[in-house]
Symmetry: C2
């Protein structure tokens, strides 16, 4: 089922389309502008992807796959303590947002639209029996609660809080850069800082109440 390695131009189109759709949305993006960004003739867009809708769906589907895969990378399975798992989850997730910023923005854009494609993809994934990706980490929260490693909290909400904290800065980057000067001057450093700060607050926020804590994270 794996797609054959796409041609160079097809790849260029993909990248250009991703950026355009992420910035201006499905209807707002212009085929001509995508063609220009890809350095090709407009007709080539229709040669590789028949219509604008097809192109959007192709880009979206690919984005969705990468997004899903991002939740289940090897590093997570190697974690021993929950603290370590949390650390790796946040680090990995923020890193993913950084290296796939446009992809994340496309997903947000689709959400703003009402997310019809989103529901479609999640549905067919559910039908295929594939579990919702963050399940691994979500379950880890539940077990950590059972073992008393962390406070009893709502796993879903906690997960949502973490994901929101990781994604949001990349989605609202212009605002963040304006309101938080350090982010504007050195984004990469800000992102690294962010990983630690999210972990810091969430980790402490999950510590059992009165009882002491175990070891400090790696």
């Amino acid at each position: 089922m794996s797609a054959a390695e796409p041609s160079s131009t097809e790849q260029e189109i993909f990248e250009a389309a991703l950026v355009a759709f992420a910035q201006h949305g499905r209807t707002g993006a212009r085929m001509q502008q995508i063609a220009d960004a890809a350095g090709i003739n407009k007709s080539m867009l229709h040669y590789y992807f028949r219509t604008k809708a097809d192109l959007y769906e192709a880009v979206f589907a690919h984005t969705m796959e990468r997004f899903m895969a991002s939740f289940d990378h090897e590093a997570l399975h190697e974690a021993n303590t929950f603290a370590e798992l949390l650390r790796r989850f946040i680090d990995g997730y923020v890193a993913f947002c950084q290296s796939h910023t446009h992809a994340m923005r496309l997903l947000v854009s689709e959400n703003l639209r009402g997310g019809p494609l989103l529901g479609q993809h999640l549905q067919q994934m559910a039908d295929a029996g594939t579990d919702t990706p963050p399940r691994l980490f979500r379950d880890a929260i539940e077990t950590a609660i059972e073992t008393g490693e962390i406070r009893p909290v709502d796993p879903d909400h906690t997960l949502l809080t973490i994901i929101a904290s990781c994604i949001f800065p990349f989605v609202a980057r212009p605002t963040v850069e304006r309101m938080h000067p350090p982010a504007g001057s050195d984004w990469a450093a800000f992102v690294e800082m962010r990983k630690e700060q999210i972990f810091d607050v969430v980790y402490h926020g999950l510590q059992p109440d009165s009882v002491s804590s175990s070891s400090s994270p790696a």
Copy 2:
């Protein structure tokens, strides 16, 4: 300074345009569709707001004002303890997101575009000497750190985490509803739950380490 009370139809246009721009972005929204949603003739759009760009800027400016004002409501000033302030800030902010969901989405959409208008507005606000709105709460975090009421954390990152946790569910609502069933069946209840859960994690996350509190400067 205060604008005169707009006519009924002008209000209708505003609402319709807000929704359309939030959903499809500045370029994606269609004037005809806005007119239809407002229940008026397309020409009226150009009668009240000369061009599409004008309409967008008007809606955006108004949204921006409401957004800024949301950070400084009375309830915040009445808080005695930091915990109380935090509680009120989160409650108020989530409530605002709920009652002005489309406004929040418009801001996100503008951010996805690169946020030129955003920078413009923030800039002219800075020129006017008005402080960046969340400053009040941000400063409260700093003082709470100094008094040892909470752990020494980066105020900006903490604020960002809180804001992200509040806003994100409304921006990515379709995804959230799919991945977290309770949200899909009863959104209002989910939102109330969310207020508490955000406070819960953040508040515990800011608690001083079990041992005493030594005031360490930032």
